[in-house]
Structure formats: structure tokens, C-alpha cells
Subunit: 342 residues, 2 copies
């Protein structure tokens, strides 16, 4: 398994073709997934190890990708904090008891992921068994900043004003919160690895809302702590969006592979993070709504920018949109394999 | 007037202090503005030259900034296209008849801004007179991409899927739409200059959603056409957000000053666009919710990155949030003046 292209690429070893997997590859755009969701709510599905394993494996097989990622949500780690997590249909996540003051932060009690998130580890074990060594399994977690932003905003946000206000007005409470989250994330990732995850991805999806200096002061140490002690046995992918101005600082925080979005040319991004680290990306997921000829054109452009250099994992710059045609996704996977044969 | 610090900075001439103005400096965070809005709806205010001039001048005086910007909205230019523009309170703009197909694009009829937007030119004339030479007046327009995205989405958007779909699936209709908008924007900016605007800003607020290659193929030529023939008599500020990966291409499109957001360090951005062009920015508007000491700290950091080099116009990276305390805004303006004295 250590010879699989995905793991080899994460370690910047030569590969027979560029490995590809896609964020949210098990999701609403796929009929098989929608069929499962007719029986189970989103959180129910996350909580049900066998069903989570099923949607993970089904999607990976259907697409022919080079890695599977465990079916879960970045917010599961917040649920045991008692914040009232709910996924209302169509509206995205809501946290009914957000954390907005130093008092709120101090009320949060750390817990042991091995107890409260044991169902995720079980899903990892079942999925790993069902994949049967054919492709590697990726575990994942949200990163402290992105998790903190959901805790504070009580859901998604456009401008992160509550998050930034807590950061600026109550820096000590901010640092306590980040520290607590970094510890939980680190334990959770280690637990997934112990259960069988062969690589992990840290999603700091919304950290691109910060100025570079604020990232360094308020986030970087905790992102680093969240990844501590994982690499090099297990490759760590450090992913975020909107980070064209933060790449050097993200690299400094850590990760064997830096995941970028589409808002920067891949060759330019790789030069900036350094060629001694891997890179993951970077097709705009909106491109999957375009005609297949355009999808192939853009995939070829990205592969050309990677220049066959060891260390490129092909992916989108963010998750697949629900309105994406499945055959376009398959066409992308095929195109990456076909166009990257060494 | 050509000796005013703001205009001198736009031309990269030495200044006694770094000039500062703030996007949305006349807006809901200010009691004087809210008082006017109790009598007039948002579009009514835009359509009323004397009232628009009043809010412009009042805000500039209250803050002590180095430039005023005409009170208007980037979407006014779309109104004469018959798309049913409405500003529902609290919800942002809605266009009731969006443009989503090649047929929709072909139905759009170009018009003469000198007729349909004469009220903006009148507001420019009145404001210029009332400013009485104390500070320069900036005119502005939305840029073709950002205007196109509103036309197609029918309002704001998170992922711009309809916009990108039209671009990819009907490239000819896309190019026709951009061409029509570029012509309108160019005429509108020229009209504002003829009426007395001493500089203009082109807002391509949402273009940061694009991959650099798509920007070059689908947007750059039209942005350039929108600015054609204005500079060097009238400085042109070319502003957008989320463009840390697009800066070189934006520079190539044109502008005497490139406006950036806070997601990149100002010194790094200036190196990338080239030191032979001015730069505007780049405080995170969320910082204005922080304690004044933090605001001053961040203003000092930005000024230090500009290193006293001629060509820096201090601004936020985007508009002032409605929840911003007015005294924080005044504290920022004072800090920039005080900390940048040569």
C-alpha cells in the first residue's frame, strides 16, 4: 500500500500517473448517496459507521479515484462540546449555543475523542477493511481556526465579524479556545490514524478571511499544534481556501502537502510554498459544470503547471457542488489519469 | 488641487502625509447618514443629486479624510437595462429580470449614460462645488465582470455558479455581454470625469472568485477597455477583493493605483504589481471593530510596509461595516495622518 500513487505523491516520490481524489466525492451530486440520505439524515449518516463506510467506498469505486476520504463532517468534533449542532436541510450547519464571550470559552470542557468520537474511528476501521487495500483511506478534521469560527458565529459566515471581534477584544480567551481546539484536533487525528487512516487532511477552509499578520499571531501556532507528531509516518495535507496571500505562513504551520484553491496558478503557488513540499489542487469546482472539453482543457493546464514534478495530488480547490453531473466528475478523473501518464 | 496629497499619491509623487479615504465612508455606520435614510430609500437617495452630495460631503468632513467619493451604487449603471433593480432593506440588491441565456444577453440594449445616468453627473457637479476645492472628488463604476455577475446571478452570490456556467457554456454570449458592459462603464466614467470627478475607481469587487487563467481569458480585455482613455489626466484606481492570486493580471489590465484587500501583506503585493504603479489599502474593515490601540497598531504596520514610498493611498480592504463605531473610524484617519508625517 505504501506503493500506491496517492501516498507516493504525498511523499514526493515518482508516480506512474498523477493521483486524483475530490473533496466531497461522496455527496449529493451522486444518486447512490442521495438514495442513502433518503433513509438517514446527515448527522445520522455520520453517526452510523457502516453507512458512512458504504457511501465512502461506493463513491470511490464509482469514480475510480486514487484515494477515499472517510465520510464525516468537520463539525462532528464540536458536538461533544454541547453547542447544539444541527444540520437543517438546505441551510448548512447551525450551532444553537455559540461561544461568544470569555465566559463561554471557559465553560467549554475538553473531552476524550476516543470516547465521544469512537463512531468515526469505527467508520475508519470498516472503510479500511472494505477498501481492501485497493486505495488508501484519508482521515480528516477541521482546523482550530475554522472550527472556532463555527463555534463563535454559530454557523457559516460571510465576514467573520464575531470571530474577529473575539480575537481582537479578548485575545486571551481566543488563545484559550484555540489551544483547547488544537488539543482536540490532534487527539482526533491520531485516533483516526490508529484506527487505520493512511493520511489525514486538516481543513482550515475559512482561514483565508484573515490578514497574514493576524494568521501568524492568532492561528499558526495552533494549526501547528493540531498536526504535531503525525508526519512523517502519515502524510498530512494542510488545506484551506482563499489563501493566496497566506501560503508561506501555511507552509510554516506545517503539512507534507499544502492544499490550495483555484484562485492562484498552481506553479506560482508551488514556488511560493517551496518545492520541498507537496501540493494538492487546484481545479475550480465550478469547472465541473462546464462542457467536458473545457474540463479536460483546464485539467491539462494544471498538470502542465505541475510539470510532472513528484509531489502533486490532483484535486479540486474546494468541494464538488451538488448540481455537478456525475459523468463530468468521472470524465475529470479519467482525464487526469490519461493526461498524466509518465 | 493637483497638489492635494491624494492626487499626488495616485501619481506617485511625494506627499507630506499618507492620504486616506475609506470605502463606504458615507454609510449606515454614521448617524448623519441614517438620518437622511429615514427620509429617503437607498435608490431614492442615489437618484437625488443634492441629497447624494450632502451625504458625501458630510461624511468626508466628519472624518477628516483626504478624498470624497461620490455617493452612488455600482449597480445604478444596470438600472437602464431594464433588469428590475431593487434594494430590499437588509437583503442587498435584487435584479428581478436576470440575464441567464444567450437570448437574454442579446435582448440587452446599450444606452447613453449621458441621458439615463445624468443624475449621477449632476451629483458629481454639486458635490464638487460643495467640497469647494478642499479635497478631491472620486467618481466610480462597477467593472464589467462584477456587474455581469450581478446581472446573471440576479443579486449577490457565494459561488458564482450561474456566472461561470454562462462563461463556460456560452463563451460568445459572455464576450458580447462583457463588451457591452465595458462600453457602458467607459462612457459612464468619462461622463463623471467631464462632470468634475478628479479620479475614478473601478470596483471589480467579486472578480477574486476566478482562476487567474479564466480572468485573463474572460475578463482582462474588458476591464482594460472599461478604463481606456482615462489615465493619465485622471488617476484610475483599479480595486478588487480576494485577488492575491490575480495581482499581476489586474496590473496588466490597467490602473494608476491597484486597490487590494487585507488578505495579503501590502509590501508583498506592491512588489508583485510593480513599484511603478500606486497601491491602495489595506486594513481589514473588521479591525475597525477592535479597540483603538489595535487599530493604531495595524495602521502602523501597513504604513511601515509602504515604507514611505510615494504612491500609497491608505484605505480599507473593503467597505466599512454598518456596526462600526464612528469614533474608531475617526481614530484610524487621525492615526494614518499622525503616523505617516514625513
Amino acid at each position: 500500500m505504501s506503493e500506491h500513487p496517492f501516498l507516493r505523491a504525498c511523499r514526493r516520490q515518482p508516480v506512474p500517473h498523477t493521483p486524483v481524489w475530490l473533496m466531497r466525492q461522496a455527496g449529493r451530486y451522486m444518486a447512490e448517496y442521495r438514495a442513502v440520505r433518503e433513509k438517514l439524515g446527515f448527522l445520522e449518516l455520520c453517526h452510523h459507521p457502516a453507512a458512512a463506510a458504504e457511501v465512502t467506498v461506493t463513491a470511490a469505486r464509482r469514480l475510480g479515484v486514487d484515494a477515499a476520504i472517510i465520510f464525516a463532517d468537520i463539525l462532528l468534533i464540536l458536538e461533544p462540546l454541547g453547542v447544539g449542532l444541527e444540520f437543517a436541510s438546505g441551510d448548512g450547519p447551525v450551532l444553537h449555543r455559540p461561544v461568544r464571550s470569555p465566559e463561554d470559552v471557559r465553560r467549554l470542557a475538553p473531552y476524550d475523542p476516543a470516547d465521544a468520537l469512537a463512531y468515526v474511528y469505527e467508520a475508519v476501521r470498516i472503510t479500511r477493511r472494505e477498501l481492501d487495500g485497493k486505495i488508501p483511506l484519508i482521515g480528516f478534521s477541521g482546523a482550530p481556526f475554522t472550527l472556532g469560527s463555527y463555534l463563535i458565529e454559530g454557523g457559516g459566515s460571510r465576514n467573520y465579524l464575531l470571530t474577529k471581534s473575539l480575537m481582537y477584544e479578548h485575545p486571551q480567551a481566543w488563545h484559550e479556545l484555540m489551544s483547547l481546539l488544537a488539543g482536540l484536533v490532534n487527539g482526533y487525528l491520531r485516533g483516526q490514524v490508529a484506527a487505520g487512516a493512511e493520511a489525514v487532511q486538516l481543513f482550515d477552509s475559512w482561514v483565508g478571511c484573515l490578514a497574514p499578520e493576524d494568521y501568524r499571531r492568532f492561528v499558526l501556532p495552533y494549526t501547528r499544534a493540531a498536526m504535531a507528531g503525525l508526519s512523517p509516518e502519515t502524510p498530512v495535507i494542510h488545506f484551506a481556501t482563499g489563501t493566496s496571500g497566506l501560503l508561506e505562513a501555511m507552509r510554516e504551520a506545517g503539512g507534507d502537502v499544502i492544499g490550495i484553491d483555484w484562485r492562484i496558478d498552481l506553479d506560482r503557488a508551488w514556488q511560493r510554498i517551496g518545492l520541498d513540499v507537496g501540493i494538492q489542487g487546484n481545479l475550480d469546482p465550478a469547472t465541473l459544470l462546464a462542457p467536458v472539453a473545457e474540463i479536460r482543457r483546464q485539467a491539462a493546464d494544471i498538470l502542465a503547471r505541475a510539470a510532472g514534478r513528484p509531489g502533486h495530488v490532483f484535486n479540486l480547490g474546494h468541494g464538488i457542488f451538488p448540481s455537478t453531473p456525475v459523468d463530468h466528475v468521472i470524465a475529470l478523473v479519467d482525464a487526469v489519469h490519461e493526461l498524466s501518464v509518465r
